[in-house]
Symmetry: T
Subunit: 68 residues, 12 copies
């Protein structure tokens, strides 16, 4: 392992289905422009409530990737 340098960005994914789907949506979006994604770390879990039910799940996460 050479002296890698990593950068971390903060994203929030959302989904009407659940927490893991919200995370997967954010990772999928980030992978469209960043090709060295390595890990994520959840920093906040929220959701929107409409008519007494959870309408959207929202997960904020740090996503790390290797700087070439």
């Amino acid at each position: 392992m050479p002296n890698h340098v990593y950068k971390t960005i903060e994203l929030t994914g959302s989904s009407p289905k659940g927490l893991e789907e919200a995370i997967r949506n954010a990772v999928a979006k980030a992978s469209q422009t960043l090709h060295n994604l390595r890990w994520f770390q959840v920093t906040e879990t929220r959701g929107e409530i409409e008519k007494g039910k959870v309408a959207h799940w929202q997960v904020t996460m740090k996503v790390g990737f290797t700087l070439d």
Copy 2:
């Protein structure tokens, strides 16, 4: 958007099925008496273990609603 004021309360939902079900149970309970629920934010995720298995999932969350 007028000058809304929101109140936040803290609830813990539980479920033998999983984390999202625990959240949904707490939201459903709160919506019986509060009709302006707007969002939730998870503050703690726990569970009870019985006979070496997760018996109950418990999620503590802040729930925000509009004060009329």
Copy 3:
């Protein structure tokens, strides 16, 4: 309830399937050697990303048990 004393250890479970499976894996592993597991509390939720997708879910948690 007598004057119980509890000990807490920190474990990280992993799973390619999801967050709850990662928690269950860690609880199952701990229950092989500890017979008084009582509760867990999640302290960190992470994951590894490979080829733009979540490859492994990793949940770090405190697990409490009764000291005999």
Copy 4:
């Protein structure tokens, strides 16, 4: 000072004008139904941005009052 007991609730005030106005709005709203308000403590300062400008200031705060 007798053995007072205080209760703390969490409110979020909003205002298009600024941070202090958002706090004053939440205090004014709470004082309509609670007559022993004693102090507040800011826990979060946020705002909404529309068309590149701050459209609403939002201040979340704990508000303490004496239980009779």
Copy 5:
């Protein structure tokens, strides 16, 4: 254990005698109107000083109870 939902409120008890008395005072006050109190968790320990001595002990705590 069915799918209980718990609510947590934040109280501050005070006492000229000591920390545990301050906690007991808050629990006693809360139990006058809430009949399902289950646990408390201390979040802050303070006190007022008068003439170079501790005049009042003040303990802030979360108090949890079952929602019927």
Copy 6:
């Protein structure tokens, strides 16, 4: 609301006038290159002191925007 993904960046605005002006300056700067700014959250409030007076107010904040 489709499955939006949001990105959060951290900015520090400064102003000789006051806290809100420092926030507005950072939002104005960010809006020159980012057209979907949605919210900000203050994470630190500081200032520089010169000759015994506050010379510059500095507010660090997270700023969130929609990823197209």
Copy 7:
């Protein structure tokens, strides 16, 4: 002082009498198997409420000891 290495474990003591008794119970339990206990640090103070009164005091603490 040579280059000592210390290990820290997390324990929760309980007592119907009070906070210090809960701490002493945990230290006494740990000292049955660990002979180099050096210090403790409280990380959480809780209690169980039964019939409107504090039934058990529970103190979670880190306990440090010298590795031989």
Copy 8:
């Protein structure tokens, strides 16, 4: 820049006018006896409420200065 050493003290300023005035009052007070004040960092924002209105704004801050 030589190898400066800085000291930080914690002050709380108060004002009936607003948050910035409370900060300015604390800085002005400190500058009467300390001549190398360099920066401040807000650590808590509170206020006292009287008759349903904010009567005093109170800002706690760390203030740093150069040790000669």
Copy 9:
């Protein structure tokens, strides 16, 4: 209430007897040189263990006083 400015210092009191005695010792020591002590806030509770028993209780606290 005029525009008071308060200063906060951090002290650690110790006692072989218990937590409250440790706090009282620190307040007594500080009041020998500071005559406007107003409040304290506990920030850490520790202790030293000797021969498997708590030998000294140590409480770290912020102590606030009025600047004349």
Copy 10:
């Protein structure tokens, strides 16, 4: 000092030699594309262990720079 706006990014540097080398590596990498680097702040210090020895030191840090 005009009304500068600063941006902060989060980087992780690594090195087999030590902590300061890990920091220097991350700063050197960032300075290849950003020409106004002003400060860094360490947020996490970790390392990888291989065969019972520290194989890589990893330092995560916020790095701030001036937005032109």
Copy 11:
């Protein structure tokens, strides 16, 4: 990568030489009895002062290893 489970313990290493040596001492001690050490994370950096100089550097860290 199968569904590994990791355990984390907390150690404090000390050294008269410096911070990295304190970390290396703790890792070396732990590797005498644990053969799957994988990573460490620093949680506290302290030291003892004697005669106005740093006499011992003390680093507290979490150390993670694979459970077989």
Copy 12:
């Protein structure tokens, strides 16, 4: 050990050489006027960057000493 009372102050040391030198500089400065320094605890590690390189290392730390 009698009932010692300790005071903690917060200092920031700086050095162009490295982190440990910055700590040693602050301890040396404090020991010129305080003769009972006992321990330090690092609370923040920062640095200034000039021309793409670390120009000054800055370590903020609490320093404790015995009150006579």
